[in-house]
């Protein structure tokens, strides 16, 4: 399978199963689009007719281009077959390792954001803080179930994890005290709204956390529309100076400014550029997750606007990079040479199998977005997974488990997508959240275009 598209002046051809990316001229683009359906002579005739006014498009040139396409096909870089489907099921059935936990360190929050998927941190339940004992057992559970995996990830999540900060610090100290003896390397992430950031938090986070996710929606009026305290005051002016101090002191370690866009700010690139103007360079912006009848839910009419926004972002990022002032957008970070292997690309996000969420009470859920949904409670950190039927549903999720994905060119970029999004959109984790797919595919097209643009520029610089 291939995918062809035109963007920012480039004609791009992706070969789905080899991962090959080709930047072609208009003639080759047209030939490739006909290659599987027409005879060589017919292709030649059609191209010569279309390009009659272009002197260098001769019959010999066209036949040479067709031969080049054949060579790429023989080399497995165009129209390659897909031999991977069986691998996904085998790999997931044979791997019983858990390597990442999302620790719900606090089911409570000091902000009252109306769009919060976690109902202001409570996840449809009672307010609660995770005790040190529960957290420690969660780490032991992770170590016990991690097999030979060395790199283990723990995200301190909420609600707002800084409302239980002392427990976070004690748990990190515990993990550090055992990781060497257990042959593990813990990587911590803190996801915070920033309200309680102080010097102690900055010092500890920048020493211990390999990543920190800082929630900021962008422009003050956009951010403060949803992200308010219980008195109704916007949080922008409180948190932005704190985020700046934390990032300035971080010394180049990983972080993300993480925003959410809704129907209210479909011009979300202005929020990303606002973050850049504030001095933040590592940026992430996600579509809101909410019921379709919410007034701020994204609607079909927003799609063309959002597509254009993603294109604007890609072009602006290329421009800023050329000027020596690059910014990073999470979804545009593609490393075509050293990216993920085929197993990563086909086995899905890992929710419910290698990745789970732990509540303050020690319950296990497939991921943070299923917490509170009794049907998907997998078990707990003392007895492990007992809801095998639910886990098997997640184990069966992969890049081929949905019929629509088998026909989709982007399946090895998304691996079947987010199970929670599918569930919320269709009522089944085996469903397809089509709206999210459309946005995802647009992002990948933009990200690959950026790679093509940079490779072209490097080539031009070399010649």
């Amino acid at each position: 399978m291939i995918h062809q598209y035109k963007l920012n002046g480039f004609n791009i051809v992706l070969d789905t199963c080899s991962g090959s990316v080709h930047s072609v001229d208009g003639v080759a683009y047209d030939i490739i689009s006909m290659y599987k359906d027409e005879s060589e002579d017919k292709i030649v005739a059609k191209i010569l007719e279309k390009y009659a006014d272009t002197p260098d498009v001769t019959e010999g040139e066209v036949r040479l281009c067709i031969e080049d396409i054949r060579a790429l096909e023989r080399a497995g870089k165009l129209f390659s077959d897909d031999p991977y489907e069986g691998l996904a099921t085998d790999y997931k059935n044979n791997s019983k390792v858990i390597k990442a936990l999302c620790l719900h360190i606090a089911h409570t929050c000091n902000l009252n954001c109306s769009y919060c998927f976690a109902s202001q941190g409570k996840y449809q339940g009672e307010r609660a803080l995770m005790s040190y004992e529960v957290g420690k057992r969660a780490f032991d559970f992770l170590i016990e179930n991690s097999g030979s995996r060395r790199n283990l990830e723990v995200d301190f999540f909420g609600g707002e994890p800084l409302l239980n900060w002392d427990v976070v610090k004690r748990l990190v100290a515990y993990a550090r005290s055992v990781e060497k003896e257990k042959g593990k390397n813990f990587r911590f992430t803190l996801t915070t709204n920033g309200v309680l950031i102080d010097d102690d938090v900055i010092d500890f986070v920048n020493r211990e956390m390999s990543n920190v996710v800082l929630s900021l929606d962008g422009r003050r009026e956009i951010h403060d529309h949803f992200r308010r305290d219980y008195a109704g005051n916007g949080s922008y002016d409180t948190i932005v100076p704190k985020f700046k101090r934390l990032v300035d002191a971080r010394g180049g370690r990983g972080y993300y400014m993480r925003g959410t866009f809704t129907h209210n700010n479909t011009d979300f690139t202005n929020d990303l550029f606002h973050m850049a103007d504030l001095g933040f360079t590592e940026l992430s912006m996600e579509p809101v997750v909410c019921p379709p009848n919410d007034p701020y839910a994204l609607v079909d009419e927003d799609l063309p606007v959002l597509f254009e926004q993603y294109e604007i972002l890609a072009k602006e990022m290329l421009r800023r990079k050329k000027e020596g002032k690059p910014i990073t957008f999470y979804h545009y970070m593609l490393d075509l040479k050293n990216g993920p292997c085929i197993y990563k690309r086909i086995t899905g996000c890992g929710s419910g199998t290698e990745y789970m969420a732990v509540t303050p009470f020690g319950e296990l859920y497939p991921c943070h977005q299923f917490v509170g949904d009794e049907k998907y409670r997998l078990g707990d950190i003392w007895t492990g997974v007992t809801n095998i039927a639910a886990q098997n549903e997640f184990r069966s999720c992969n890049a081929y488990s949905r019929p629509e994905c088998k026909e989709c060119w982007a399946r090895l970029y998304c691996s079947g997508g987010c199970a929670a999004n599918s569930y919320h959109a269709t009522g089944s984790i085996g469903g397809v959240y089509e709206y999210g797919c459309k946005l995802f595919k647009k992002r990948i097209e933009c990200a690959i275009m950026m790679q093509v643009a940079e490779a072209t520029e490097n080539d031009n610089a070399d010649t």
């Binding site: 072609v24 060579a71 791997s95 990543n211 996600e286 990216g339 998304c414 999004n421 990948i444």
Partner: protein
């Protein structure tokens, strides 16, 4: 190939043999937490 420029990419088919170590980051843990993607994850296999 004067009309086709192939960008250098990892040979996904080859990674059937040398991939699958599982040391890479879990997709959802990094920054998105809502819209899973795997293509932007770094490979951490030193033996690829």
């Amino acid at each position: 190939m004067n009309r086709i420029k192939t960008i250098e990419t990892r040979d996904i088919a080859c990674s059937v043999k040398n991939g699958g170590c599982g040391e890479c980051q879990t997709s959802c843990q990094s920054a998105c937490k809502t819209s899973c993607g795997v293509a932007n994850q770094q490979c951490e296999n030193d033996n690829k």
